[in-house]
């Protein structure tokens, strides 16, 4: 499949990238791993005059886990950088879950966490868990830098708050409170290489058997990844009894607004949300104990 012609530029600093994007805001696009954008370009769904690659900007590649437990994911850090990171595996197991569920090994070697978020498909694998952790995006534009909470980042399918000359430089995940457990679950049509029909992530803070705080988020069941706030509220202050989990599942399903498509019906997606919510809350709580 031949792609239409485009220009490919590789700035070596963020400010240079912003400037290049600003030169032709309508015709330019940021290029990171390329695994999504090339598919769109090959299919003729999109066309850009110029791709601005972030690959040569050294400082964007890092993944940092600080002593206090905060996590910073650079804009060009790949999914596998996350998936293979021992500290993340231990402290943010749910982020590891999500990374390992994305596409397949070769894609995980190339695709970036930031790219997965910026493409803003409703089924983006990294979105629910990062949303549940209260992640924020550090965005640089020609006029300066700002911090955007991930929950305000998505606007619609394939649409974010980013302006044409904006570059996401990092994703920040705040340090989890003591007693935190997290998990991310999804159901696809086959074991690997599939998009989820529904995905649910949860971050809980446990104090012995009582859940002190719970955040539940959903993917692939609304125009954007979403918070299922009411589901978290049901759990907060309670033991994770069967009834509580069931109730949380129902609340989560109420938050979802899925569509029928070739991958699943709306009804099935709602059922999945209920089941996955119960299971993901339990998994997150189990990890908190451990």
């Amino acid at each position: 499949m031949s792609m239409r012609e485009f220009d490919f530029v590789e700035p070596t600093s963020v400010s240079e990238a912003c400037a290049l994007l600003a030169e032709d805001p309508d015709g330019s696009a940021v290029f990171a791993g390329g695994t999504d954008i090339l598919v769109d370009l090959k299919a003729g769904l999109k066309h850009h005059q110029r791709l601005v690659s972030l690959a040569r900007i050294e400082e964007l590649r890092a993944v940092e886990l600080t002593a206090d437990g905060a996590l910073r994911i650079g804009a060009t850090a790949t999914i596998n950088q996350i998936a293979r990171h021992q500290g993340i595996k231990e402290r943010f197991s749910g982020i590891n879950d999500a990374a390992m569920s994305l596409a397949a090994e070769q894609v995980r070697n190339q695709a970036t966490v930031a790219g997965n978020l910026c493409m803003a498909v409703p089924s983006a694998d990294m979105a629910p868990i990062l949303l549940a952790h209260g992640a924020t995006m550090r965005v640089v534009s020609p006029v300066g830098e700002r911090v955007v909470p991930l929950r305000e980042f998505f606007v619609g399918p394939r649409e974010t708050i980013l302006e044409a000359a904006d570059v996401v430089v990092a994703i920040d995940v705040p340090p989890p409170a003591p007693g935190t457990g997290d998990a991310s679950l999804r159901q696809g049509g086959r074991v690997s290489l599939s998009l989820p029909m529904a995905a649910v992530a949860a971050v809980v803070v446990m104090e012995k058997r009582i859940c002190r705080e719970a955040t539940v988020t959903l993917g692939a069941v609304a125009p954007t990844p979403i918070m299922a706030t009411a589901a978290g509220e049901v759990v907060t202050g309670n033991e994770l009894s069967e009834d509580v989990l069931r109730e949380a599942g129902e609340r989560a399903a109420e938050a979802a607004v899925p569509i029928d498509d070739l991958r699943a019906t709306k009804e099935y997606r709602l059922e999945l949300v209920k089941v996955l919510t119960r299971r993901v809350l339990q998994a997150a709580a189990d990890r908190a104990k451990g």
């Binding site: 490919f8 090339l38 090994e105 290489l193």
Partner: protein
């Protein structure tokens, strides 16, 4: 604007000038000629283009060449060092992890990245690392085994195959010799059609219809022709008025649309240009005006009175393309004798073969000689030659067909296709070679995969489980053209009485034209869906009369030496042995009906023909024809046969037959290229015919050589030729083995005395096959295979998700010529069947457009979906087969569907009537069951 990219590829520095929109895959293949890296989908799904970039596995179709600037690339060609294979490559050969070989380079590279980081991977590690590499042939089990045991192949030793399943009765037949083509495939040297680059070659592209049903009122090609780099544009006006197809009674396709288009994807025009991008661009510049016609997507709407005609020739027939009406015995009487009668509707799905290699053709018209040479990824070189001869109205001899390695077919490459004809026309028009390849979406539009069948099935049994009558009414959604459909419509019904004794049988089948892609022949041709229905309904009846599902099959199982109710000859038949075997090996008696809720076992049975008894068109030629030429010094022989190796291992099997018959050692017989200029007619790879038919022809050719050698040797040894046999590279007196001479010596004397030592052989099925009613020839075969599968699985009752745990399969394939190849066919069938039952379905919108024409949303199983498989060959001997052999490749697919459906019932108590059995359907059935309980 081009820029120079510096790459280190397999240790060598390269500087390549490319435009930014060029991928690494393009650079490797087109600029550097490293064709070992395959293009399977071009969208990052299949993994055949996997290479290492700075040591990490990536899909090179998703890497821009400019983004790889300054980096290090390793391709399959870089894996072997100084000609010595990497241990992984040796493991792939020894374990039988290679079939068509198209996924192999990518698979090996992904495995290389894994073992570099983790030299002792677990099965789970392997499944994770290779999750991005699809394989359609092997069922993955031997790939997992190969990667898991790679360290055993470190060092200098040549790969020794597992010989655990070998027969001890012959020297070469029955032995798991490694595939003859495995070294070429595992090192990336094997050349597939898409890998061919001829000097001065042009690239062709097709323009297909975006509408499902329309009259083409005008085509303007002027803008396309004016584009620099475009060398030729052809439309329906430029092509033959002779229509082609598969069945002579229904040749209904023009090379390019002359009047109407009948499905989204119908071919309208073709372009040849200096490169692919220019050809793509030119296709977009062709302006076509359509007058839209009503679209018929539902076969029952097509059948309704007053429905518009999709084909003029079917006018007045309500779009019925094929009607089969058979009645054997008296079903009404049969049902009257029954104690239990069930009738249900079952519905199938649109399944596509999805071989990893896209269809491709390279045409080279020679104007000096008025001939065409065509390289094509085809299963049927002869039928292709025949159709070219018809369409171009020139003798067969003017068409030279060469079949390079073929990356899987499964029936999808079993007929002449638009690429063959269009590349030929474009080459004739330009005087230059032209290559054309389907994109992955075009493969789905071309389809020729499974028909979706709507099956109303009624079975009656006595209280002892004896089947008294079967009534089967079937409507097949055939799509816009006939393709193999006449045969499909017959096979769907005709195979039902081959498995069980059925005294009374009625079949009414209608294959409908609809405005969908044409359906054709796919592995098990027409049979798997009806067998799914039959095996499901039989289980329901068994439950009704309180009988074990295996018992009810035993009661009715076909016996050897039977003439079925529809006049099919069954000679060898070890069906009952397959049932006994799977009962024991699966632990059936302890499991069926006894496992906890959510877990279950199910049985399914089935089989297939070993080659069609009659060719597709009337012909007096034998079906298979072989030539063996012994080399001048007698130290080796070349086998020339055009039976098409498409990944199933037929070349290896045929070489084994020749070697055994000649009394040589494996490796002494080499295969000539599959080229119509070298080998005579063979009908090709379809209807599971190669082992039996081509095998018989090869054995006859070897016997011809032997008779010549024995005459010479008899004179020398002073005995009668009949007293001699050939074994272990020696010809000797059977009764006095020490009296003999070397094969090579006898061959040299033969050559010195009479010139070239050539043997010929042919095979023609017995003329006695079949009855004398209409359609009695379809479904006949010299031999039938039989098999049974027990599936053990888990159903998650909350999500409806099915996890297949284990398959236990036993197949009666007659004498197994190559056990590893046999088990590879079974494992591939099972995993393909798992996809067919659980996840595969082409989905259409209301305009007839396919919503999932890609390997992203058309879900063939990935490596993680593969279950544990135990495959057993039951002892059997087919008197009509070479050394007693018969088929396995398609018959092993047939039991899979019913076994899964029945296991789901055993697990959670819901009976599923519609394929694919997706989680959402199971969940819905569970909810309905709960509300009705």
């Amino acid at each position: 604007m081009e820029r120079v990219v510096h790459l280190t590829v397999n240790g060598d520095a390269h500087s390549v000038a490319v435009r930014p929109n060029v991928t690494l895959l393009d650079v490797l293949r087109e600029h550097l000629g490293l064709i070992g890296t395959k293009r399977g989908c071009d969208f990052g799904d299949c993994g055949t283009c996997t290479v290492l970039l700075d040591g990490e596995a990536v899909k090179s179709c998703l890497v821009l060449a400019v983004a790889a600037d300054g980096r290090e690339v390793t391709t399959i060609e870089g894996l072997a060092s100084d000609g010595a294979m990497h241990p992984l490559q040796k493991a792939f050969i020894a374990k039988g992890a290679i079939q068509c070989g198209y996924c192999t380079p990518g698979m090996v590279m992904a495995a290389k990245a894994l073992v570099d980081a983790n030299p002792d991977p677990t099965d789970d590690d392997i499944k994770t690392a290779l999750g991005g590499n699809l394989c359609r042939c092997t069922g993955y089990t031997r790939i997992i085994d190969a990667v898991g045991s790679w360290r055993k192949y470190e060092g200098d030793a040549a790969p020794e195959p597992d010989s655990g399943h070998d027969l001890e009765t012959h020297a070469v037949v029955g032995r798991s010799v490694p595939r003859s083509d495995a070294p070429a495939k595992v090192t990336g040297r094997a050349v597939f059609t898409e890998d061919i680059r001829l000097p001065n070659m042009l690239y062709g592209k097709l323009l297909t219809s975006p509408h499902a049903h329309a009259v083409v009122t005008n085509i303007d090609t002027s803008k396309a022709e004016a584009l620099p780099g475009v060398k030729a544009v052809i439309t329906g006006a430029d092509v033959s008025g002779v229509r082609y197809g598969v069945s002579p009674a229904r040749y209904d396709e023009y090379v390019l649309a002359k009047d109407k288009v009948r499905f989204v994807g119908d071919e309208v025009a073709a372009v040849a240009a200096v490169d692919e991008a220019t050809a793509d661009e030119a296709v977009k510049l062709i302006e076509v005006e359509y007058e839209l016609l009503p679209v018929l997507l539902d076969p029952f709407e097509a059948l309704a009175d007053g429905a518009p005609d999709i084909h003029e020739a079917a006018r007045g027939k309500n779009n019925v393309n094929t009607l089969v009406d058979h009645h054997f015995g008296d079903v009404d009487e049969g049902f009257a004798e029954a104690d239990a009668v069930f009738e249900r509707r079952f519905v199938g799905n649109f399944v596509q073969q999805s071989p990893l290699e896209p269809h491709c053709a390279v045409a080279q018209w020679n104007h000096d000689r008025g001939t065409l040479t065509l390289w094509s990824s085809t299963q049927v070189p002869h039928y292709l030659q025949k159709q070219l001869s018809r369409v171009f109205e020139m003798p067969l001899a003017k068409f030279r067909i060469i079949k390079p390695y073929v990356g899987g077919g499964f029936g999808g490459k079993a007929e002449a296709m638009a690429l063959d004809f269009c590349s030929a026309y474009l080459s004739r028009a330009t005087g230059r070679p032209v290559k054309m390849t389907y994109t992955r979406p075009q493969m789905f539009e071309h389809h020729r995969g499974r028909h979706k069948q709507f099956m109303d099935l009624k079975i009656g049994v006595t209280k002892d489980g004896k089947i008294t009558a079967v009534d089967f009414r079937n409507v097949l959604d055939g799509g816009a053209y006939t393709s193999f459909g006449v045969i499909t419509a017959y096979y769907a019904g005709f195979m039902i009485p081959t498995l069980y004794h059925i005294p009374n049988y009625r079949y009414h089948g209608r294959r409908m034209y609809t405005n969908k892609p044409p359906c054709g022949a796919m592995r098990g041709h027409g049979v798997p869906q009806p067998r799914f229905a039959f095996e499901s309904l039989l289980d329901m009846l068994a439950e009704e009369i309180g009988m074990d599902p295996i018992d009810i099959r035993m009661v009715n199982a076909m016996d050897p030496n039977t003439r079925t109710v529809n006049d099919l000859d069954v000679l060898s038949c070890e069906f009952k042995a397959t049932l006994d075997t799977v009962r024991e090996r699966s632990g059936w008696d302890a499991k069926h009906g006894k496992l906890p809720f959510g877990r279950g076992v199910g049985i399914g049975s089935g089989g297939f023909v070993s080659g069609a008894g009659y060719p597709i068109y009337r012909s007096s030629f034998p079906h298979s024809n072989a030539i063996i030429r012994v080399l001048e010094d007698g130290e080796g022989a070349t086998l020339m046969i055009a039976a098409a190796e498409i990944g199933q291992g037929s070349e290896t099997v045929l070489a084994q037959v020749a070697t055994e018959a000649l009394g040589l050692a494996y490796g002494d017989v080499t295969m000539a290229d599959c080229d119509s200029e070298i080998a005579p007619i063979d009908l090709g790879s379809y209807s599971s015919r190669v082992t039996l038919m081509a095998g018989n022809a090869v054995k006859a050719a070897a016997d011809d050589i032997n008779s010549k050698l024995y005459r010479v040797a008899a004179r020398e040894l002073g005995c009668e030729p009949e007293a001699l046999i050939s074994e272990g590279r020696r010809i000797f007196i059977e009764a006095a083995p020490h009296v003999g001479m070397d094969f090579a010596e006898a061959a040299r004397r033969c050559f010195s005395a009479d010139g070239p030592l050539v043997g010929t052989g042919c095979y023609e099925p017995p003329s006695s096959l079949g009855g004398d009613f209409k359609g009695a020839t379809v479904g006949t075969s010299p031999a039938f295979s039989f098999g049974s599968s027990v599936c053990e699985l888990e159903v998650d009752p909350e999500t409806g998700v099915v996890r297949i745990i284990k398959f236990t399969d036993a197949h009666d394939s007659g004498t197994v010529i190559n056990p590893i190849a046999f088990h590879g066919q079974v494992e591939g069938s099972i995993v393909m069947g798992v996809g067919e039952v659980l996840s595969e379905d082409m989905i259409f919108d209301d305009k007839g457009r396919i919503l999932n024409p890609n390997l992203h949303d058309y879900l063939i199983p990935s490596i993680g979906d593969t279950p544990e498989i135990e495959s057993i060959a039951v002892p059997s001997y087919e008197p009509r087969g070479p050394y007693g052999a018969k088929e396995v490749g398609e018959g092993s697919m047939v039991p899979v569907l019913g076994s899964i459906a029945n296991a789901i019932y055993d697990a959670v108590g819901v009976r599923m009537y519609e394929l694919p059995i997706t989680p959402q359907k199971i969940l819905k059935a569970l909810e309905e069951k709960e509300s009705s309980d």
